[in-house]
Amino acid sequence: MIPRYQRILFWCLVAAILIVAAFLYHAHRQTQRRLAAPADETPIAAPVSTSTQDVTLYLANDADATVAPSQVSFALPDDPTSRARALLDHLLNSYAQPGSAHPLQGGPAVEDVFLVPNTPSTDTHSTDKTETAIVNLTSAFCDRHPSGIQVETLTIRSIVQTLHAAFPRITQVRFLVDGQPRETLAGHADLTRTYSVTTENPQPTTSN
């Protein structure tokens, strides 16, 4: 015969086990919901507060070796470096569209754009507010870029002039590829030098 106090203790322990099991199950569900929560925050529609802006893209044309301005309108981030990167992505991907006058293959082209003041920040007396843009291209973009002096030069000129049009304080542009200096874009155009928007003044001549 089991004593009464032992039966009471047994059922108390069973009740405690059930309560702890229910608590653990509840905590487990809560943790699962908390971990899954970021995935649910993915926007399913464009933010309605972002307005499109008019920007000038300098588009290259292989037929006459020119780079001509073209007004387009699309949404851009407010942060300058993100804005510059989005601008160049839009520019370079526009060359992948059918009927492009300067056909390039599409895909990721720009890793980052950094804006660096031309005057060191320690020089507090300087009034020079100009900047150098450092454009970090992807090696995939360079590897699939058509090879030739004219086609590579026009791509670089298009990037430099588009950046200067959107950010007038950018007066110089340097290029990196995957974060490293590279000799040429696709075998010809020199990427080791700094391109100055003030001295880059193309004067192509069409003879035929």
Partner: protein, 242 residues
Amino acid sequence: MLPLRRHIAATLFLLATAAAAQQPRTTILLDPAHGGPDAGAHLANNVLEKDVTLAFAARLRAALGGANFAVLTTRDADPAAAIPPDQRAGIANHARPAACLVLHATGSGNGIHLIASALAANAPQRTIPWDTAQSTAIPQSLALAIQLDAAFVRARIPALLLRARLRPLDNLTCPAIAIELAPLDNPGGSPTPVTDAAYQQQAADAIAKALTAWRVQIAPQPAPQSTPQPAPPDTPPTGAAP
């Protein structure tokens, strides 16, 4: 009479040869771009740019030789190792040619692309910076580019002139132009590839004609007669009333 005629003909030939030898031949340096492991652009039908530039240089050398130019090249074959741009510029600058032509080929565009350095023109200095050596020859390079452009117009080959920063073009001290062969668009037909022998020969002949005209343009003008000429006896003295 026949031996006498032969003698006269031989004498005239020797005189003409001697006269030609007294006139210094203009030296042109050709730089077929790329070579060795540096294949350059991969063109249609698995053709490599380094092979096209070498073949075009051979045609151009023959055309220039026929126009009485002395021709030097940075390479005559496919080298085992790539020739760096600085080495090409070094070869050219030591040779001191009258002009340098850097030869390229591409699969993009149409016709001939003439590229002059985008450096700003500078007056010659005692010390020439290596990276901007071409800046002292920019006016002559542009004059050469205009002659080439006109010659291609006459040959009915589309040509585009643009300026770019390019090595070794920027490092050359002589008048220098990069010539890039591109496929030739044919209305209603497929483009003529850069490997087409007739196209290359037509371009080479046009370049030879342009350089011939340019040689005349850059030739030193004859010095003015410094010997005073006697005045005619009836000419009144300067300042005298008639």
